[in-house]
Symmetry: D3
Subunit: 133 residues, 6 copies
């Protein structure tokens, strides 16, 4: 295991290790290198850089995924990740609410639905979902 | 002037008052109510809520506009705004770099170009642009 | 209840009151202010302005949500809303078909699927869905 | 010239013939069939269908292009087209304003800038632009 | 049946005839002309042009739909289509992986999930889905 | 210089070395690590993988950037890159034309404008542009 992947896994462990594991399981059979490549880039190269703390990084990621409005599984995973690095539920809701200004009301509203689902996952009250997808 | 618009203008004054004035001038002739309506919503209703500090809010907005990749004038304005509320140039660059993971390398690269332009505006070294557009 | 929210609820009542109520129920627990804020903006400030009739406004909204292709629940809700303000099913289908030109065939085709589902909701033949999401 | 292309050109003549001619000139050298193919589809197959009047169609197109926020030349062309089929400047501004709700404030604001430019084109007060692009 | 529609159906027969039939069934009741219009354009006018082979065309379509990240049913259909015209599973996975660079990791990851589902459809191991939608 | 960056620069040299150099110059002052990080990922990790030839990869990238319709400088750069790895101008035009089906006519039309500009760059007949942006 090279250094970037090792740093990536250490960084992911602080954010959402279960989510990373689900990705590995989901794509391993069809794209065996993919998990290592994207994790090494996303968490080994970028999110582990000391120039910005993980809490600020999760604010940025939750905002971007809410605004892009086309990556629901990843938005849910990063809402869980935001809680892991110290954001409160109220702060996460506030970030998603703010996106109504920049990406429109539907994007913000659908982000709220993702937050509701992610909070239920954390509370252990979520309806069971098929692996990753 | 109602309370929401008043709070909006006070909030904008902390972020990017010149940008708000440019919008007012640019759209006033064709849409006289527009500046008041959108400022009252964006800054009177949302960005002035105490649940999240302005620094975190600008992280979210810079991330979202970089990722959406279709609102260059607003991205430049919020990079200037991020500096006003205490983000460093290095932190802004880091947020934009992070978007390479979530929105792709071109969105991140074009965000860097917006940062370069916004920094030049702040430094007084920018090439002159036509009003707002 | 302030005037903007009151006007909002009166305007929503002409379009899709049940949809507004579903949103209120769905996000109330995690974002108690959200329904009032977005409804006051969307329907109190904007959609209630006399400069454009509600039928034209629903044409615009159905077109935009079909073209953006990332807000299926809201598209279904506004297809129901379009019927409420006097658009025919044939006109709604025609708007969605037109989006094949501007947003591509997949966006138009997925819009047709939303129309089929919304029509089934109106006919009482829809499969039951979990609240809002 | 086949029937679809003939109907297309007749339909375009009611909306924005100069814009269609600019496209033909701009892409003719590199893609000689393109103008005929896209015009026959957009205006021969779709926009000429009697199920929706041209005014309603331009409402839909202006809304969609404002919301998509990535097709400025086409948005300007359809704002000119909207005026040709009987929309007033106030109605066009209202459609674009409404998009702040569904696609966010930056998309709406940049749509206003397109309207300002299109109105100046119609008034003969626009700054000269290079052909199409 | 006119020539364009005939060519369209012949071209579709080489790519994903079952998918085309599913669309026809799904939208026939609400939009009876839609299948003929979009197939004639997509496959009669464009995808049947000899200037590019079908294998290259499916590379382009799979890449675009992965990057747009808002047309999952169509992406699955074109992954099946890519296999029909001679792309290997490894090549399709590689195209989708490449989109991580241009559209971001979430778009690429969700594309992988579409590939997993499409491969399962081809293998006859897919979970049953409701028609088209 | 590590191996990934070395492979990246060798791969870029086959596609569009001048474009890579322009990026390095444009962002070097504000984001000194960015060029190495994104090139190592885009060309060291992904585009250099032997599972797909560079010609197929440029088909995918030109299609995706045309369809995303928000990355004009990168689209122009990859049109130049497509020519470098053996695509003809006719094939590139055909890929962009095909995107009218999947991403709509405006995206395809604006892609054609990018092709016209990129071909002019290659022919040495382009109007001079400011560095990168």
């Amino acid at each position: 295991m090279d250094d970037r992947y090792k740093i990536a896994l250490e960084t992911v462990a602080k954010i959402n290790e279960a989510g990373s594991k689900r990705i590995e399981d989901a794509v391993g059979a069809i794209a065996p290198d993919f998990h290592r490549l994207i994790m090494s880039f996303a968490y080994g190269d970028i999110n582990s850089r000391p120039a910005l703390d993980l809490k600020s990084r999760e604010i940025a990621t939750i905002a971007a995924l809410t605004a892009m409005a086309n990556a629901r599984p990843q938005l849910e995973a990063h809402i869980v990740g935001g809680l892991s690095v110290g954001l409160t539920r109220e702060e996460i809701v506030e970030i998603i609410m703010q996106m109504a200004v920049y990406a429109g009301v539907p994007a913000s509203l659908n982000g709220m639905m993702a937050a509701r689902a992610a909070f239920a996952t954390v509370d252990g009250t979520a309806k069971k979902k098929p692996a990753q997808d």
